[in-house]
């Protein structure tokens, strides 16, 4: 198992991979890269701009004085700097990325090509509407697909990401309740929810009340019914939930919520498990955000941009944000808020993440209704296959079948000195991105694995074999392999405590040469 020369001592003198010390600090293809400010200089530039025509300045007295301190790179050095940086990243393109709740599926390059058509990328949000009918038409088409897939009558495309979609949904709910004369005070959120749910509820001025889970990893219907009263504005529920399970009682939950005069917000982060198979509208959902960057394959880009359209039930349609794309008098138009509108208003400048709309539409058209159904089925099949292949050695938190992700906890590590964190870091040495760790909070040392439908069976088998090997090593007491992992990454374990204690959040010039 030590075929890559992993050191058995913790000695750094051998270097991270146990190979030779080099003069340059590089290790063959593992190239170190200094900061932009160490590689570049204020004099260097990688662009050639036209000469500035001589004019009389009209900046008033506000011309910028002194140096900004920016570093410039030549064009070749720019390519080298960022190419070298890129090689220190793990990515879907490189291997299995089973980050639970994140849906790290293949990002088709057709989508990138389509989003870069000049007719989509080089148009301004405030061009006259007659000059952007194709763009509005695409937005309308996307809205139609999302409404059809969810069985919901209304859609707002403008939210910029999932959490922004949550805000959109809860704002509409609060606007609807205020229109009835009572905004109520409380939003119920299960313990297993994403942190964005309670954070969003707080942003809308609500108190958050937690609801317990059953021993089967689902919302406790009795506890929920007990918590429902005339102070409850909404229930925020992720379905399938963050334990990777479909909420069996969801239709009863929706009925109970509605009977109490509250609304049902569904967090659609896990829509990939049911797209084309189950329409949330049929479950009694009032609104749900859809992460285009999860279910519909728009790339995560190292942390965004995302896109979080929200679908709405009839009851909430009047309160949706503006603008909305409408077909009127033979053309598409952007409907803005008018005086009669009950809309809660505008969530962002302009109209949302057009670049992501094009990518998502390209993905949806490629799959079609039949292909999207297959997406959900294959995603669920893959997760259940991983679960079935690991359950004898790892401890699944709940009985299956699961949906598109499977949840394990750290009971299988209890006789070792290995923690969930150690186990995850050892996966890096195996060439995999770790699963989501320590989330959801309802099980101890959670490991949430979401393989997605775009991994082949071969890839899944290799992943399963590696994990089984790691479990064997952990239970046999090969602690070194875990406690200081990763050994084979661009960096060994990083000191996050030190980073937070005395934050260094930017490069600063060396003190001797400080200029401002």
């Amino acid at each position: 198992m030590n075929r890559q020369g992993r050191p058995t001592t913790s000695g750094a003198e051998q270097g991270p991979t146990g190979v030779v010390e080099t003069v340059s600090g590089h290790q063959g293809l593992a190239l170190e890269e200094p900061l932009l400010y160490e590689r570049g200089s204020p004099e260097m530039t990688g662009v050639d701009l036209p000469e500035v025509p001589a004019v009389t300045s009209r900046l008033g007295q506000m011309g910028r004085e002194g140096d900004i301190g920016l570093a410039g790179l030549s064009e070749p050095d720019t390519l080298r700097h960022y190419t070298r940086l890129s090689r220190q990243n793990y990515a879907i393109d490189m291997g299995v990325y089973p980050l639970g709740s994140c849906t790290m599926k293949h990002n088709p390059r057709l989508n990138e090509k389509m989003a870069r058509l000049p007719g989509f990328t080089d148009i301004h949000p405030l061009q006259p509407e007659e000059t952007v009918q194709g763009a509005l038409g695409l937005m309308d088409m996307l809205g139609h697909w999302l409404k059809t897939l969810t069985g919901m009558p209304g859609v707002a495309l403008s939210p910029k990401a999932g959490a922004h979609g949550e805000l959109c949904g809860l704002m509409a709910i609060r606007a609807a309740l205020e229109a009835k004369g009572n905004a109520r005070k409380v939003v119920l959120v299960p313990e297993s929810a994403h942190g964005t749910n309670p954070a969003t509820a707080a942003l809308c001025g609500y108190q958050v009340q937690s609801i317990a889970a059953t021993s089967e990893g689902r919302v406790d219907l009795a506890a929920l019914k007990e918590a429902l009263n005339e102070d409850v504005a909404a229930v925020m529920l992720t379905n399938p939930n963050t334990c990777g399970l479909f909420e069996r009682d969801i239709i009863n939950i929706a009925e109970a919520v509605h009977a109490a005069g509250a609304y049902f917000y569904c967090d659609g982060a896990n829509f990939n498990a049911i797209v084309g198979k189950v329409r949330p509208g049929d479950l009694g959902v009032d609104c749900m955000h859809i992460n285009l960057h999860k279910t519909f394959s728009t790339p995560h880009g190292g942390g965004g941009p995302g896109s979080g359209p929200v679908v709405f039930s009839e009851a909430l349609v009047p309160y949706m944000p503006r603008p909305l794309v409408e077909w009127r008098d033979g053309g598409f138009t952007m409907e803005e808020t008018d005086e009669d509108s009950q809309s809660f208003g505008r969530l962002t400048a302009f109209h949302g993440q057009m670049g992501m709309f094009v990518r998502a539409m390209s993905y949806m058209l490629s799959h079609g209704a039949d292909g999207l159904m297959q997406v959900a089925e294959d995603a669920v099949l893959a997760a259940n296959y991983v679960m079935a292949s690991l359950s004898d050695v790892m401890t699944a938190s709940y009985a299956g079948p699961c949906m598109h992700e499977c949840l394990f906890d750290d009971r299988f590590l209890k006789d070792s000195n290995v923690t969930t964190l150690d186990f995850a870091k050892a996966m890096i040495d195996e060439g995999f991105h770790p699963m989501t760790m320590y989330f959801p909070l309802v099980v101890h040392g959670a490991m949430l694995i979401e393989p997605t439908e775009t991994e082949s069976k071969k890839n899944l088998d290799e992943f399963i074999t590696s994990l089984r090997g790691l479990v064997a090593a952990a239970t046999q007491g090969d602690n070194d392999r875990f406690s200081a992992a990763p050994y084979l990454a661009p960096r060994r374990r990083l000191d996050e405590t030190a980073a937070a204690r005395k934050p260094i959040l930017r490069w600063s010039p060396p003190p001797a040469s400080t200029t401002n």
């Binding site: 500035v52 990243n89 994403h194 190292g302 930017r506």
Partner: protein
């Protein structure tokens, strides 16, 4: 289907490992009444060629900014983005990575973010910047909430020079909080008195620089007045290239700077994805929204980078977080940073000077047209003109001649009696013949 690698044999083998007969058995927790047996009523799957044809035909129905004389700004600007930028952000290692939760295998994204934060802090003249927000408008909302947390006061005063849609976003995010947002009327001639509105309840004053109408104002006195009352000055910059030519908000005494970073590295994209910038003073770091990247060392003492101060954030703090934001604008911040690295100090200053010079050239042409009046004493690359006719009509007439002349103020501020105002933007992408076309077109429409 080309994105789905399982074969029929794979599926059947996997089902036997799981121990079920068919995939619907895995959906046994779903009420059978709502489990669809047939695909929904949408078109079936399509080939790559057919998808390409379909979307290309939609794209062709739009007037492409680069193909016509183009003078639209008002919060989104058409700049030339070097080819290197788009190539690099399409490298799969950047494009297809998640938020860098596992720093040991995300140093590329993290180091780029650290450099980005430095660049943003430098150009805004502030101590620190975060790793991005969705866009400038939502950043503006976040800044107001941040000012409230810092000052524990509820009154935010918004300048009439603030982009109307930014103003609307602030209104939205404070709808259900008990904040008191004072909205000043639109100020096309920049004649408002904000200092008089600052009192002991004021959390912040929000101004735009250059403002929505293109005015460049010195806010130093406003900053001092705010400081005296222990209120914060929030400065919004929607055209980030401007800071290569005009004094930084930090130098004027800003406490929080919010920017729209689209101008560097990012296309117009019909309004998104864009890039929210947020910078502030060191002492307010722990009240910032969004991700922060920080420097640290690894177990072997080598420099490395991590996401830090996450106890501010929703995944740790939940309902007590500084913001609900999770996904931000990672790849857009990378594009921004690459473009700014290519420019460097020299290129950034030159690009800004070029934008201003081109705008001055257009202003000099337009102010000679009878009936056209420029409202700005000072401007960067955008200014407001008063026309003898409703601007929307003029814009529509010129659009029919394939000249995109600017943004009629009435489009964003309807019913404000500003129908005769037009906001015109000029960047380095505008050529002499474009200016001549606009000048000739305006003369003809107004004659």
């Amino acid at each position: 289907m080309r994105y789905l690698p399982f074969t029929a044999q794979d599926r059947s083998d996997m089902l036997s490992v799981i121990g079920v007969d068919n995939v619907d058995a895995l959906y046994c927790d779903v009420d059978p009444d709502v489990l669809l047996s047939q695909p929904v009523d949408l078109p079936k799957h399509a080939t790559e060629l057919s998808v390409e044809r379909n979307l290309t035909s939609l794209a062709r129905q739009n007037t492409v900014a680069g193909e016509v004389p183009f003078f639209i700004g008002a919060g989104a600007y058409r700049h030339h983005v070097p080819a290197t930028v788009d190539y690099l952000i399409q490298r799969g290692e950047f494009l297809t990575a998640y938020t860098p939760y596992q720093p040991e295998i995300s140093q590329g994204t993290l180091q780029a973010l650290f450099e980005f934060q430095t660049q943003v802090a430098q150009i805004t003249g502030m101590d620190v910047a975060n790793a991005s927000l969705y866009d400038g408008s939502t950043g503006c909302g976040e800044a107001v909430l941040m000012a409230r947390r810092i000052t524990r006061r509820k009154k935010a005063v918004l300048s009439g020079g603030l982009h109307p849609q930014y103003r609307d976003v602030v209104k939205t995010v404070t709808t259900f909080t008990d904040d008191d947002v004072v909205i000043n009327p639109p100020a096309p001639t920049a004649d408002e008195d904000l200092i008089a509105q600052i009192d002991d309840e004021t959390s912040c004053v929000v101004v735009q620089y250059p403002d929505f109408f293109g005015h460049i104002q010195d806010f130093s006195a406003l900053a001092a007045a705010a400081q005296e009352k222990k209120a914060l000055l929030v400065v919004v910059v929607t055209e980030i290239v401007s800071l290569g030519a005009i004094s930084s908000p930090g130098a004027m005494g800003a406490d929080i700077v919010v920017g729209e970073g689209q101008s560097l590295g990012n296309g117009l994209n019909f309004g998104g994805p864009y890039l929210g910038l947020l910078a502030t003073r060191q002492k307010y770091v722990r009240q910032m929204p969004g991700r922060l990247c920080g420097e640290t060392i690894d177990a072997e003492g080598r420099r490395g980078f991590v996401l830090t101060l996450s106890t501010r954030e929703q995944h740790i703090r939940r309902e007590k977080a500084t913001s609900n934001i999770c996904t931000n604008s990672g790849l857009c911040s990378l594009a921004f940073s690459i473009h700014l690295s290519l420019l460097g100090e020299k290129g950034y200053r030159q690009l800004a000077a070029l934008n201003h010079a081109r705008a001055v050239q257009l202003a000099e042409r337009l102010e000679l047209i009878e009936g056209v009046e420029i409202l700005n004493a000072a401007f960067f690359n955008e200014f407001t003109i008063r026309l003898p006719r409703p601007a929307a009509e003029v814009v529509n007439t010129l659009a029919a001649q394939n000249i995109l002349a600017g943004v009629p103020v009435s489009r964003l501020l309807p019913q404000q009696h500003m129908d005769d105002l037009l906001v015109v933007a000029v960047t380095e992408t505008v050529q002499d013949e474009d200016m001549m076309a606009l000048e000739a077109g305006l003369k003809e429409v107004l004659s």
